[in-house]
Symmetry: C2
Subunit: 124 residues, 2 copies
DNA sequence: CGTCTATTCAACCAGACGGTTGACGAGCGG
DNA sequence: CCGCTCGTCAACCGTCTGGTTGAATAGACG
């Protein structure tokens, strides 16, 4: 098992059908059957997709009669954005630094002024 | 082939080893052997991972003697952030709206599910 | 009770995935 | 030229994945 949350979320969203389900769930909660309707697959397949999304923490299911309304848990997105932003920022900073280095032939790499204060996604 | 860029990027980053390689590449370009060093797998496996990252547009390889320095292409991150932010925003807005609805309690509210085909060519 | 609807579980299948080993091409260096 | 290192290609293997069909469970309803 992948176990680690980031992998689960990324791989959950690596599937177009699952991404589309997530997209639709941003509009409203839906039952499995409702979700399955637009797609050209069986409801069982959609149920599996939902399981994947649920294990990734992207959706939750409640119980309402015999229906299982699916609800989006959008906070999980933050997990990804945190990761992405962190390394994007790091990459950008590196390019700036490289530019500097190329100018002066390095013997000591000096931390260049970060134009963006690391407040948005400052992870550990 | 999944073909669609978003799926390629998400699934490329769904692997911890690949994520780690990307993380390291934000610091500096590296050769395949350098990249492979920390991991407990053969250099061939790493080469495969790089192929995946390259096909996702996350890295590019140049040629320098018999070495193939790997370079991160960080702009691709924007593809993901665009998607994520879009739907996160949409979800947040929906919650606000729902809150509103719950306050006024109309009796003719019905869930409207805009049929969205399982395709990710983000229609804008 | 029996049945209908909504959903999941189980078994199966083809294909992709991550890994291996082994062989091969490209360049440097003796 | 020979040999070495760097990297990829090819074949193979076990596991995961996305899909199927068919059966099972849970609750509403007559």
């Amino acid at each position: 098992m992948s176990a680690d949350p980031l992998s689960l979320v990324f791989s959950a969203l690596a599937d177009p059908t699952r991404r589309d389900m997530v997209a639709r769930l941003t509009v409203a909660d839906a039952t499995v059957n409702e979700l399955a309707a637009p797609y050209d697959v069986t409801v069982q397949a959609v149920s599996k997709h939902l399981k994947v999304l649920e294990e990734a923490g992207l959706v939750s299911r409640s119980r309402e009669a015999q229906r299982r309304p699916v609800h989006l848990e959008a906070e999980i997105f933050d997990l990804m954005t945190a990761w992405i932003e962190r390394y994007r920022r790091q990459a950008e900073e590196r390019y700036r630094r490289l530019d500097d280095v190329l100018r002066s032939m390095p013997d000591d790499v000096e931390p260049v002024l970060p134009p963006n204060p690391p407040e948005t996604g400052a992870p550990t």
